[in-house]
Symmetry: C2
Subunit: 203 residues, 2 copies
């Protein structure tokens, strides 16, 4: 009973992550009620995206210029590379304002159970950067999951003998979290990676 | 640190109902990763919407033709009008497959506390339909809220003497719901509107 153009838009909206038919219907009805201006606004934003967004040839993040803003920033330490899985991880780390190096976006993680996707990942590009760009230190900022750990292992093995120092993010109790409800693997790794507390009274 | 066209798209997405900055970011990154085809698909659906969707001049539902598919259906009872607040209510009622009349979409409800929006509502159009189109029966299918009840009261007063029979949807315990957790107003109205059970043994 819905006109075909509305049905079609709902169908396209359901392709967005986490959007079911009910939510897609709300989006479509919202646009219909907001009218021409709102629909045009979304159209224009999509068109600009198509026209202007490319992949940075160095870090493989999405950007409107290549090299991207971060890779062209001479104030950043280009010998310190943070390896992440996806563009949204760059956003998350930038928000901490505690990293002054550059990034390498792998565009995925190795899934040891499925054996797919690794060809699309930017691993050869990372190895090339380390070989030719004088990378001193690599920090893996990948999810502490089977996929993340496998990816760290795989790339680390390829980088053996490269001279770059490798590290990965600390795992442990999340800030504000509770020990009572932490899972045993998290708690175990938090214990192993316990941090020394500076004692004001000395010794 | 996000390229401006991505930021812009995220901003437009947050204007959709229930979409916060994090969800909008996921939508944008999803489109970026899916690539040109997916973005174009959404663009085209929006364009088709702009080109083809208008408001039905009879019921004020969105449609690609006017009168809309429902209003042009000669098999439906045009003297029986179901009054709803929004286009999505038409979809919900059509899904029940238990209504054979036509609709009138008010495009809103009267908010007695705010006193706004009533000018945009299609109330004069409903009164005109009743006066000129020989409407026999009106069913108000509005939310059982202050706004819904106020709207029913307001329109009913205007229709006094029109000869049309007026009713509203039954309120009561939702099918599959629990008496223990029903609020007192719902339970009270379910008691008052109790339905006679046909007794197989007669009397």
């Amino acid at each position: 009973m819905l006109a075909r153009p509305i049905q079609k838009l709902i169908e396209v909206f359901t392709r967005l992550p986490g959007v079911g038919p009910k939510t897609a219907e709300r989006f479509a009805i919202h646009l219909l009620k907001s009218g021409r201006g709102e629909v045009t606004r979304l159209e224009k934003a999509l068109e600009e995206l198509l026209q202007n967004i490319r992949s940075c040839e160095l870090c493989h993040n999405f950007s409107d210029m290549t090299p991207c803003e971060i890779c062209s920033d001479t104030k950043r330490d280009h010998a310190l590379v943070c390896v992440v899985a996806e563009p949204q991880d760059v956003i998350a780390i930038e928000k901490t304002e505690s990293f002054g190096g550059v990034y390498h976006v792998l565009r995925g993680l190795i899934d040891p159970l499925r054996d797919t996707g690794i060809e699309q990942m930017k691993i050869p590009e990372l190895l090339a950067r380390v070989r030719t760009d004088g990378v001193r230190e690599i920090i893996f900022a990948l999810d502490p999951t089977i996929e993340g750990e496998t990816t760290v292992q795989y790339i680390s093995a390829q980088l053996r003998g490269s001279g770059a120092s490798l590290s990965k993010l600390a795992t442990g109790i999340p800030s504000g979290g509770s020990i009572e409800y932490a899972d045993e693997i998290t708690l175990g790794s938090a214990l192993k990676a316990r941090q020394k507390i500076e004692n004001a009274t000395g010794s």
